[in-house]
Structures are given as structure tokens and as C-alpha cells.
């Protein structure tokens, strides 16, 4: 048996087909993954993302500690509640984890992947010797993502007036506490959305209320096609410890300024930059019928080869799309091998859909 969120029985009652994801038993879909996908693009839906790893870092050295541990610079988060996208790198500059970090009154809150939760607890603790910090895994919290163009409006009907006021006024990538609830304007779908972290013992009642107000539950299947259309990378697929953020379309998670800030992986990244980055993560669109999948080989005539790191059918576009790691010289055309046959693909910026609009 895998790990279960407090909503496990509700997922079953809602007809979910459950799958294993990073050791968790989670809903793949509640009937139709494609319908759920469209629902988030056009209205809104709720994801149980309680498997995600929440870690609070506090203590007088929380800031210098995380300036060492993270590729983006938490000193840039000047106000309490401010957040940004970041990464934890190894000494070789490979991506151990990608995350969102928020400044809080006591320090910082890190939202990282379920897959690496135990590993990064160890990784963080292993580096605390010269710092006065406390690291607390918040597995006492549940976590929901309410996403879609109607999410703020619909969620405001469910929340009490103080929390409704908070979510209506949150800037992108910001969070705010209301008691022991933490509400953030973040998401993984390319639509407007709010994420809520709350005590696990209140989660089932709240999930029930969301469903009762007609907010549709959405499974991991649609979460994956939504993030792929938005061009958001997935740990283990599009990035890993053997790949630098520069080859994963994650340049924006690396803050090389100020130069005097040392962070784990910095030396390796600087060497990579001075040697020249050889690969990039691009978007692919299959113009013919078929489905692009992770692992399929890509070839670029006159340039070289690459690999699809994430691929699926895009419900919004109606064609197969993918993220692929290819040589840096790759232009606008390529070919992908599907079942021993090569198909032409268009190479595009890895951002296919945003706020309901097709960008490619």
C-alpha cells in the first residue's frame, strides 16, 4: 500500500481511478482526463496535491542557509509572503529538486516534489552545521490547488470573508497566512489559480465544501497535460540530477548576481556557461496524427540527436506536443521516431498554451 492523503476515501467515492505516483496512491482521473483538462482551462477545478512536500526553514540563519542551498536568491524575497521559483542543485549543477520558496514571518516555506521529499530533508540537514536553522517537514498539512479562469471567483464563494479577501488581493507568486492556513497565488496549469495549505484534519471537510460548491475534482492525468501545455517542466522527466537548469529551460531559477553569493552548484554552472551550453529544452508539435511520448528519439537534420523528455496529446490544441532536449543549434524542424517510423515535427518555444490561449 502506498501513502495516502486524507482525501483518499473521498477520491474513491468520487469514482477516481487511482495510481501510484512517487509512492502515493492518487487519483489519475475521475472518469475522463480530457474532460477534466478542459474544465480547468475553461472554468476551474481542484487538485489534491497533499503529496507535495512542504518544509519550513526557520532560525536566525534561515536566509544565509537558503542562499547557499538554492539556485535562486531568497534575499530577493524582501516582503513576507513573497515567493519565487527556485531549484536545489548538486555540486555538478544538476537539478536535485525544483521548488517554490516563500518568505514567512519565521523564515521560509519550501514547496518541493513528493518524489524527492525524504532526499531533500537529508540534503538540507546535511548542510546545517554552520547555520542556526531548524528544518521542519510539514506532513501535518494538506494541500489543494484550485486552478482555472474562474478559480478566484468560485473559491471566494467557499471561503470565509477574510480568506476570500486574501486570495482576491494576492499578487502572482505571493502567499499569505490566515491562522494556520497558507494561501498562495501559484499553480502548475498555466491558468489563474490559488493553492491552499491547511491542517490535514480540516482537509476532508474543506474538500467536501469545494465539491459541494460545484468545483470539479481533477486528477493527476489532467495535471500532467495542463502543465505540459503550459511548458512547465517535471522533475524526473524534463530535469534531473544529471542535467543543468540551463538545459531544462530553467535559466530563470539561477541568480548569478550578486557575484559574491556562493550557492551549491554555482561553480559548475559558471564552468558550463564559459564552455558554452550544448543543449536546450524545446517544444515539439506533431502535425500528423499520433502521440509523442517521453523517451522517443529526436533527430535534427545536419545538427544531431535529442530525446523527448515529456510528451502527450494536447487536449487544447488537438495535436501531440512534447518537451525535448536537443542540440543547441536546433532550428524550426525536426523528426521523431514513433514505432520505428520517423515523423516530422515543428520545433517551437516550450510554452504551448497560457490562460486558455494557444501560443504556437
Amino acid at each position: 500500500m502506498g501513502l495516502r492523503t486524507p482525501m483518499y476515501d473521498m477520491h474513491l467515492a468520487l469514482g477516481a481511478k487511482m495510481i501510484d505516483f512517487s509512492g502515493w496512491e492518487l487519483p489519475l482521473h475521475y472518469g475522463s482526463q480530457v474532460d477534466e483538462h478542459h474544465h480547468v482551462r475553461n472554468e476551474c477545478g481542484v487538485f489534491d496535491v497533499s503529496h507535495m512536500c512542504i518544509t519550513d526553514v526557520s532560525g536566525t540563519d534561515a536566509e544565509p542557509f537558503l542562499r547557499l542551498m538554492l539556485s535562486n536568491d531568497v534575499a530577493r524575497l524582501t516582503a513576507s509572503g513573497a515567493g519565487h521559483y527556485s531549484a536545489m542543485l548538486n555540486e555538478q549543477g544538476g537539478v536535485i529538486d525544483d521548488l517554490i520558496v516563500f518568505r514567512t514571518a519565521e523564515g521560509f516555506r519550501l514547496i518541493t516534489n513528493a518524489l524527492t521529499c525524504q532526499k531533500i530533508q537529508g540534503w538540507l540537514k546535511q548542510h546545517t552545521q554552520n547555520f542556526s536553522v531548524s528544518i521542519q517537514l510539514r506532513d501535518d498539512l494538506a494541500h489543494f490547488a484550485i486552478q482555472g479562469p474562474e478559480s478566484i471567483e468560485r473559491l471566494s464563494e467557499v471561503l470565509n470573508s477574510s480568506r476570500a479577501h486574501i486570495i482576491q488581493n494576492l499578487a502572482a507568486y505571493h502567499g499569505s497566512f490566515d491562522g494556520d492556513w497558507f494561501l498562495t497565488r501559484t499553480g502548475y496549469t498555466g491558468e489563474e489559480g490559488i493553492e491552499i495549505m491547511l491542517p490535514a484534519d480540516q482537509a476532508v471537510d474543506f474538500f467536501n465544501e469545494l465539491i459541494g460548491y460545484g468545483i470539479t475534482p481533477i486528477g493527476l492525468g489532467a495535471r500532467d497535460t495542463l502543465r505540459l501545455e503550459a511548458g512547465f517542466t517535471l522533475l524526473g522527466n524534463d530535469m534531473d540530477e544529471n542535467h543543468s537548469p540551463y538545459t531544462a529551460n530553467m535559466h530563470h531559477v539561477v541568480a548569478l548576481e550578486p557575484k559574491e553569493r556562493d550557492f551549491i552548484g554555482r561553480n559548475a554552472l559558471e564552468t558550463q556557461l564559459s564552455n558554452g551550453i550544448q543543449e536546450k529544452l524545446v517544444g515539439l508539435v506533431l502535425e500528423e496524427r499520433g502521440v509523442l511520448r517521453a523517451g522517443q528519439p529526436v533527430r535534427i537534420e545536419g545538427v544531431g540527436q535529442g530525446t523527448i523528455t515529456s510528451g502527450s496529446f494536447s487536449p487544447t490544441i488537438g495535436k501531440a506536443i512534447a518537451l525535448a532536449r536537443v542540440p543547441i543549434q536546433t532550428g524550426e524542424r525536426g523528426e521523431v521516431e514513433i514505432r520505428q517510423k520517423w515523423y516530422p515535427v515543428r520545433v517551437v518555444s516550450p510554452r504551448f498554451v497560457r490562460h486558455g490561449k494557444i501560443l504556437i
Partner: protein, 127 residues
């Protein structure tokens, strides 16, 4: 809960087969199969006039989740393929027993008798 019409025959690999009045066999995939696959977005059909043997891969069906081969339930020659279904493969999810993939002239009609009946197929799915 999936449906399994009593008037069809089934392969343990989740294809249904229907013997038509003219001796041709019509083939598709079962309700159980489409439920397991999830939203189907792509269908690759066998070549018309190709010869298939029982159990041989006849084509590929892909859902948002995964690609899956389907197999010939009996040996025979492909007489017709449902080209229209490739334009709207989601029909396989909504009407699995109307969404036929191809028709087959069986080499040996008796082979059909070796396929599972509805009860035996249901039993094999729950095994």
C-alpha cells in the same frame, strides 16, 4: 462497471469479434479495454488486404496515458478498415461495441469458437 454483450466473442487480449451473416468477422476493443486505457486520442489501423494470424499485433491504440497494441482475435485477411474512426477515436470510449476497427475474412471460421464467451471474458478480466 463495464459491459460485455452476450452475442460477441472475446480474446483474452481485450478484443471483441462478431461473426457477420456473410462470414466476415468484425473486430474492435472491449469496454473493459477502453476503460483501462482512458481517453483515446489515436488509432492506427491494419493495412487493408493484409494477412494477420491469431494473436498477431494488428495495430495500436493510444490514450492520453499510454499506447497499447491490439491483436487479431483470429487468423484472416483484412477486408475493410474503419478509416472514419481515426478522425474521432474518442468514439471508442463512448461506444466501444459500435466502434469497429476492421473486418477480417477468417481463414478458419472454427477459430472463432475458440474465443471466450462473455462470461469467460468477464472472468478473465476479474482474475
Amino acid at each position: 462497471m463495464s459491459t460485455t454483450p452476450a452475442d460477441l466473442r472475446y480474446a483474452s487480449t481485450h478484443e471483441w469479434a462478431r461473426l457477420e451473416a456473410d462470414g466476415i468477422i468484425t473486430v474492435g476493443i472491449t469496454d473493459h479495454a477502453q476503460q483501462a486505457l482512458g481517453d483515446i486520442v489515436y488509432l492506427e489501423l491494419p493495412q487493408p488486404n493484409s494477412q494477420l494470424s491469431a494473436g498477431q499485433i494488428a495495430g495500436v491504440v493510444e490514450s492520453v496515458k499510454a499506447a497499447s497494441d491490439y491483436h487479431a482475435p483470429v487468423s484472416g485477411k483484412v477486408t475493410e478498415v474503419n478509416e472514419g474512426l481515426t478522425d474521432a477515436p474518442e468514439g471508442i470510449n463512448s461506444h466501444p461495441y459500435q466502434s469497429w476497427f476492421y473486418r477480417l475474412q477468417p481463414d478458419n471460421p472454427a477459430e472463432l469458437e475458440q474465443l471466450l464467451d462473455a462470461d469467460a471474458y468477464n472472468a478473465s478480466c476479474s482474475a
